[in-house]
Symmetry: C2
Subunit: 143 residues, 2 copies
């Protein structure tokens, strides 16, 4: 009753929406694994699709591939640093608040007809809200 558990790279590409070259690239980086070869061709377990979905989410969340390699590798026996995860979760918290502020800012800007939004009090309030939380983030280096 198990549906095709083994997929070739083209099938994974079709189902994940990622380019074949991207899949090979991810495998080389260690983000995903093929479960063997048939001749020269890579074979993948269907579970790789779940993992790729997780990677997409992570990318969207702003994680780098390297970070995800560390964070999302919940392999058997490999204990992933609990603090590290919590820390990442906290970073996401901040980010979510900021995104929410930006979203509200955009929605407001679409409706508000002030000449310059940078001077609109509502807009500034939203901005300030987001920045206040940001204060904790003193770092010399940008992304």
């Amino acid at each position: 009753m198990t549906l095709p558990m083994i997929l070739d790279i083209g099938e994974v590409s079709r189902q994940s929406g990622l380019a074949v070259s991207t899949l090979r690239f991810y495998e080389e980086k260690g983000l995903i694994q093929s479960c063997g070869r048939r001749g020269m061709r890579r074979l993948f377990e269907a579970s790789v699709l779940l993992r790729l979905a997780l990677i997409s989410l992570g990318k969207n969340a702003g994680f780098s591939l390297d970070e995800m390699d560390e964070i999302f590798t919940f392999q058997d026996g490999v204990q992933i640093d609990r603090d590290r995860l919590m820390n990442k979760a906290d970073e996401l918290d901040l980010k979510i608040r900021q995104l929410t502020a930006v979203r509200e800012g955009l929605r407001h800007a679409a409706d508000c007809s002030a000449p310059s939004h940078l001077e609109c009090p509502t807009f500034q309030r939203l901005l300030d809200g987001a920045l206040k939380k940001n204060k904790v983030k003193r770092k010399t280096k940008g992304v």
Copy 2:
């Protein structure tokens, strides 16, 4: 008794936390503007700090510099496309939901001692939740 309204690039760098080279780069891209020069040196109005804060938020939200150049330029007279803003806000909505799922996933993973989180039902539920929303690609108008 207005405090120094005019800042030189070093001061902007100090107050914004961005490298001087980054500020010059942003100016070249048109993301910020200097209000003139003293000799060869750029001068900035204090308001550039607010704009830079907005840019930082936007970057965090995953906007590219080019996008922000279009979206965050609420200049006098320049009418920014209302649909475009709303569309961006909707994109952020989706992103916020995904980030929330990832955050919960991380928090769960930190506590759950299942051997493989990809197989943990709670984790999968969170993942599915995020992915389901992803399917809903509404909105007729693209960029």
